[in-house]
């Protein structure tokens, strides 16, 4: 039976839950891993209390795009360390991309990730299965088997499916399971040799360019295939103005197309790539000023559905190389909310309700998760954040095993305060 002393009462926060149209000052009572009640001045004399006055209480944030590196590259990140970084960023759930070693292309790997996460990760980990065996782009992976084991979407992230026939087959097959197909849209022939956005800065630095078209031709292809097959298609880390326009048009036509934007793409541009620093190297690359404007517009007008970190840990030894040798990707779980508050909310572009949609409601919908809500009976995953808290990101204090970020030393206005998973506080900011 329920032990009321294990209950948690979050008191007097501003509760924002867009899925139920809620934005109100209230208490939230958590019991046995579920939302037990919401309302003003809840009576729960035996419950532990958490004062949230002046703070936002939201359904737990879900990162659609995390690389946990385990199994296979535990020197860069583990399910445990990545889970802690997620919690410290205010995330209660992450989707783990399948490009581990071995690739998550069968139920055994899926089971391993889920079991390890259950034992070691403070946050929920939902594995994404590979589209193709080994993500080699040749033959479909065991998608049905992985779905039974617990995957919530499929993707060959990082090793995009070049073969349009295979992608068409994958979408068709996935539609039968209602699984979302996530694609890292990149035509590898167009991006070959590229190191940063194809623009003046790349020319100036003598670095090979990654054209906007290398993303856009694949966004276009995938939208066409999704329309044909009826699959739910989600664009990973969308980065160009042209892609925004295509997704906007697809939505106008009523297609089940969604997309995510990363904080680094809506914050930085190619001109910010300084001094051949590998911490500015990622795929897709930091784009032009015009592209960033289009991303911000898309986040504001509903074209973009989600903010996702594309947290991609790499050890310092790999990033401290010649720019062309450094691997692509940066960590991002701990800075995502701070950047979103700075660039989207404090800039006046969106309100807090929309922010919660981007971080929680929509990611839950895209991944088919019964979360992103504070309805009574829902999982007690809660993100409490303070839009005004001043803090400075010191990557040497990161929970991640890696430190590859361009945001070290960045001063933020607003950030996570408390992360609650299944009714338990898993992370709390230091006072």
């Amino acid at each position: 039976m329920s032990d009321p002393s294990q209950d948690l009462l979050i008191r007097n926060g501003r509760v924002i839950a867009p899925s139920q149209g809620m934005d109100t000052q209230a208490d939230v009572l958590l019991r046995e891993g579920r939302i037990a009640a919401i309302g003003p001045n809840l009576a729960a004399p035996q419950a532990q209390r958490l004062d949230a006055s002046g703070r936002i209480v939201a359904p737990g944030f879900i990162d659609l795009h995390t690389h946990l590196r385990e199994p296979g590259r535990e020197h860069a990140e583990t399910i445990e360390s990545g889970g802690r970084a997620a919690a410290a960023g205010g995330f209660t759930s992450v989707l783990a991309m399948p490009n581990t070693r071995p690739v998550n292309d069968n139920a055994a790997v899926t089971h391993f990730i889920i079991q390890t996460a259950r034992q070691q990760s403070p946050v929920n980990v939902f594995p994404v299965g590979a589209i193709s065996e080994g993500s080699r782009g040749e033959q479909l992976a065991a998608i049905g088997e992985m779905r039974e084991a617990g995957i919530v979407a499929i993707s060959d992230d990082g090793m995009p499916v070049m073969n349009s026939g295979l992608m068409r087959r994958a979408m068709s097959y996935a539609s039968g399971f209602g699984l979302t197909v996530i694609d890292h849209c990149e035509d590898l022939d167009l991006s070959a040799g590229g190191l940063m956005h194809d623009g003046y800065t790349a020319v100036r630095y003598g670095l090979g360019g990654i054209s906007s078209t290398s993303e856009e031709v694949m966004v276009a292809r995938n939208i066409l295939l999704a329309a044909e097959t009826g699959a739910k298609f989600h664009v990973a880390h969308l980065s160009t103005a042209g892609s925004v326009e295509m997704v906007r048009e697809a939505k106008r036509r009523g297609l089940p197309i969604t997309c995510e934007v990363t904080p680094h793409h809506f914050t930085l541009i190619d001109e910010d790539v300084t001094n051949y620093d590998g911490n500015y190297k990622m795929k897709p690359p930091l784009r032009s000023r015009k592209d960033r404007e289009a991303l911000l517009q898309g986040l504001a007008d509903g074209t973009a559905d989600a903010i996702a970190s594309d947290h991609a840990p790499h050890p310092g030894s790999e990033k401290m190389q010649e720019f062309e040798m450094a691997p692509f990707g940066i960590i991002g779980l701990e800075t995502a909310l701070g950047l979103a508050l700075e660039r989207l909310v404090h800039s006046g572009l969106i309100g807090l309700t929309r922010l919660v949609e981007l971080f929680s409601v929509n990611p839950a919908r895209i991944a088919g998760l019964d979360r992103g809500t504070l309805k009574v009976g829902a999982a007690a995953d809660i993100t409490i954040f303070d839009p005004e808290r001043r803090w400075t990101y010191d990557v040497n204090q990161t929970q991640s095993r890696s430190r590859n970020t361009p945001f070290h030393g960045h001063s933020f206005r607003g950030g996570p305060v408390t992360t609650i998973v299944a009714g338990k506080v898993v992370w709390q900011v230091e006072k």
């Binding site: 070959a192 040799g193 623009g199 003046y200 800065t201 790349a202 020319v203 100036r204 630095y205 003598g206 670095l207 360019g209 001109e271 910010d272 300084t274 001094n275 051949y276 620093d277 030894s317 401290m320 190389q321 010649e322 720019f323 062309e324 040798m325």
Partner: protein, 319 residues
């Protein structure tokens, strides 16, 4: 602390470049003398670290150092720890621990010396980094032009060839436009992206060699870097030469006193007709000769402490 070195032309002002050219001119007569060795840099140790094959630049730097009386060690990528999988930073830290006075470095990766300069105190002289910069080449080109023209200001300089892959072009664009020259870039469109016009209002593009050469004071030809084009280029010399090779008859459209330059190595019959390479106003060998004087000037000014601002970090774009 301000680091010394020469990473590129981009961060330098004309006022900072001028003393290097003046010093190079001071060393020019020495090249034709017997008994060329000086003791300006006696007791100084210079490491030449070449991660990419190079004949003229490496030899030129070595001769320059030796003519100034410095001791030199030359390391090429073959036969060093490079083959043993050591990272570039570890290799350079190892070399720096032996306390050389400067490291002259050629590397196939753009920005390799800029990356290293963030971690190393030893001054680095960039002898060419990937497709980024080749500052001493631009300096020797300027010196060569000034041997034939009173000033760089107002000159029309045509640079023709594989622009996108050329570090020589990038360094020259900075240097020439800082001194008021007008640069016309020419090559087939895949080798000449429109972003090159962003360097300066004094840079224009054309895809027609005849247009580039018209009224040119200086014609600078570039090698096609076949190795960087993968399979996307018809690799026959004839196909390229037909549209973009410099032939003798082209020169009639140029100014009568126009000079022809080439940073080398030249591919006769691809980017330049053999008869043009040997024609009287071809100054290709003068460039090579001036290379030694320019590198003496750079080493001298750097190691005696007068060239300090050349390794400042790359400024952000946006002029």
């Amino acid at each position: 602390m301000q680091k010394r070195g020469l990473l590129g032309i981009e961060p330098l002002t004309a006022a900072e470049i001028q003393p290097i050219l003046d010093r190079a001119r001071f060393y020019q007569p020495l090249q034709a003398r017997t008994g060329k060795k000086l003791d300006t840099l006696r007791g100084k140790m210079i490491i030449h670290l070449f991660y990419e094959s190079s004949t003229r630049t490496r030899t030129s730097f070595e001769i320059a150092a030796k003519r100034l009386g410095a001791d030199t060690v030359t390391i090429t990528a073959k036969g060093s720890s490079v083959d043993k999988g050591e990272s570039l930073l570890d290799t350079l830290n190892t070399l720096a621990a032996m306390r050389p006075d400067a490291i002259v470095m050629r590397h196939s990766a753009s920005g390799a010396p800029h990356f290293l300069a963030r971690y190393l105190e030893t001054p680095i002289i960039n002898a060419g980094d990937g497709t980024h910069e080749h500052p001493t080449q631009a300096l020797l080109d300027a010196l060569t032009i000034l041997d034939h023209k009173p000033s760089l200001a107002g000159l029309r300089v045509a640079i023709i060839g594989d622009i996108v892959h050329s570090r020589v072009v990038r360094s020259n664009l900075y240097l020439l436009t800082k001194f008021g020259a007008h640069v016309v870039l020419c090559g087939p469109p895949p080798m000449l992206p429109r972003e090159f016009e962003c360097y300066s209002p004094n840079v224009t593009r054309t895809f027609r060699i005849e247009e580039a050469i018209t009224d040119a004071d200086v014609i600078m030809m570039l090698r096609v870097q076949l190795e960087r084009h993968g399979t996307f280029l018809d690799s026959s010399a004839n196909e390229y030469f037909r549209s973009y090779g410099l032939r003798l008859e082209h020169l009639q459209a140029a100014r009568p006193d126009a000079i022809v330059m080439h940073p080398g190595p030249i591919n006769r019959g691809r980017e330049i007709g053999s008869e043009v390479a040997d024609f009287p106003r071809s100054v290709i060998l003068n460039q090579v000769e001036n290379g030694v004087a320019v590198r003496m000037a750079v080493l001298d000014l750097l190691l005696t402490g007068s060239l300090s601002r050349a390794t400042e970090e790359l400024p952000k774009a946006g002029t």
